[in-house]
Point group: C2
Chain length 206, copies 2
């Protein structure tokens, strides 16, 4: 059985939802970031990067949200979470997820994890102040150039949707008013009507 | 014919090498970052994010290095640049590329593009000072935990190799001595013996 290591309010939510949508047999294991469990020796043996998500499979351990999402789509083709027989369309999904991972998530992380990239308290404060601007710019790019319909890729639900949902759930903490992005707001609301999303949100909040 | 937009010293080098290794019919078009061509209206019509790489295909335009690399591997299966029939192994490649994209490239970018995440000159200087440390930590992770052999995945050359080569070429500018990472140094040297790599380096340096 697959085992997903996740933390509350982390990007691991995307993989958690995707596993549920895929109908996978899996166990979700919560790490307590407040207690710094992700830096403990037990977890570092699973993921030496000390981050979530990590997905334990019968073949080995996977990390990195875009890789795990594509793996879930390819491993459960009957769930139709990606256009697996069309390399260009598949790459478009991957480009969207890569943007969330390397640009949007990184912008968000500057709000609370500035120590990754600087040493001075004044720099951390400077970074934190800029988060509403950078996250708004990212959301504007998604709202105006990327979202194709009710779902990220139009009328087809894919592995991009739980990832966008995860990121848009961070907006209140990032000082961004989701009301300014009506398509993204509608996407989040539509996601919340899905039973898989409800199941995962309940599990992560218990 | 595929058309790749690239810039010198940019992460687009990875896609450029992969196209050459795949034996693809492609044209490479250089953007002059010094003249800020990536922010000009002509290029923003191609990639509204104003970044490289962008790959123009007959079906549309792709961005984001990990997505383009996987697309090349899937589009030219005879080049055997990824284990396309094994979702777990494919995901391992993707996890490696995602780490380079979202962690290593981001660490590198703090050396010269701090304005993306902060506003004060003092913050930019603080970020720049930390780059040798963060990039060394990343290289240590790759050297000790990720590199499996002469190539990233052992005896098999994949889409991860041109990407690692691209990143390890940045180390002198990042203030990191590659001699401290003998496997990464050997990987870079081995890459430079490949005719595809030599062809691309010559084309980018003309």
């Amino acid at each position: 059985m697959l085992k997903l290591f996740y933390a509350r309010n982390a990007c691991s939510l995307a993989s958690h939802i995707a596993l549920e949508e895929a109908g996978a047999a899996y166990k979700a294991v919560r790490l307590d970031f407040g207690a710094n469990e992700q830096r403990g020796s037990d977890y570092l043996a699973i993921n030496p990067k000390g981050r979530v998500p990590a997905l334990v499979t019968q073949w080995g351990i996977l990390t990195e949200t875009p890789a795990i999402l594509a793996f879930i789509a390819q491993s459960f083709p009957e769930a139709k979470l990606a256009p697996l027989d069309d390399p260009f369309a598949f790459a478009e999904l991957q480009a969207f997820n890569s943007y969330l991972c390397a640009t949007v998530h990184v912008a968000h992380a500057h709000g609370s994890r500035g120590y990754r990239w600087a040493d001075e308290e004044a720099s951390f404060a400077d970074m934190k102040r800029k988060v509403p601007q950078t996250m708004s710019e990212c959301m504007s790019m998604i709202e105006t150039r990327m979202l194709r319909g009710l779902w990220v890729f139009g009328d087809r639900y894919t592995i991009c949707d739980p990832y966008l949902f995860t990121v848009s759930h961070w907006l209140p903490r990032d000082g961004v008013d989701i009301e300014k992005f009506p398509k993204i707001r509608a996407h989040a609301a539509l996601m919340e009507t899905r039973s898989a999303v409800q199941t995962v949100l309940r599990a992560e909040l218990i």
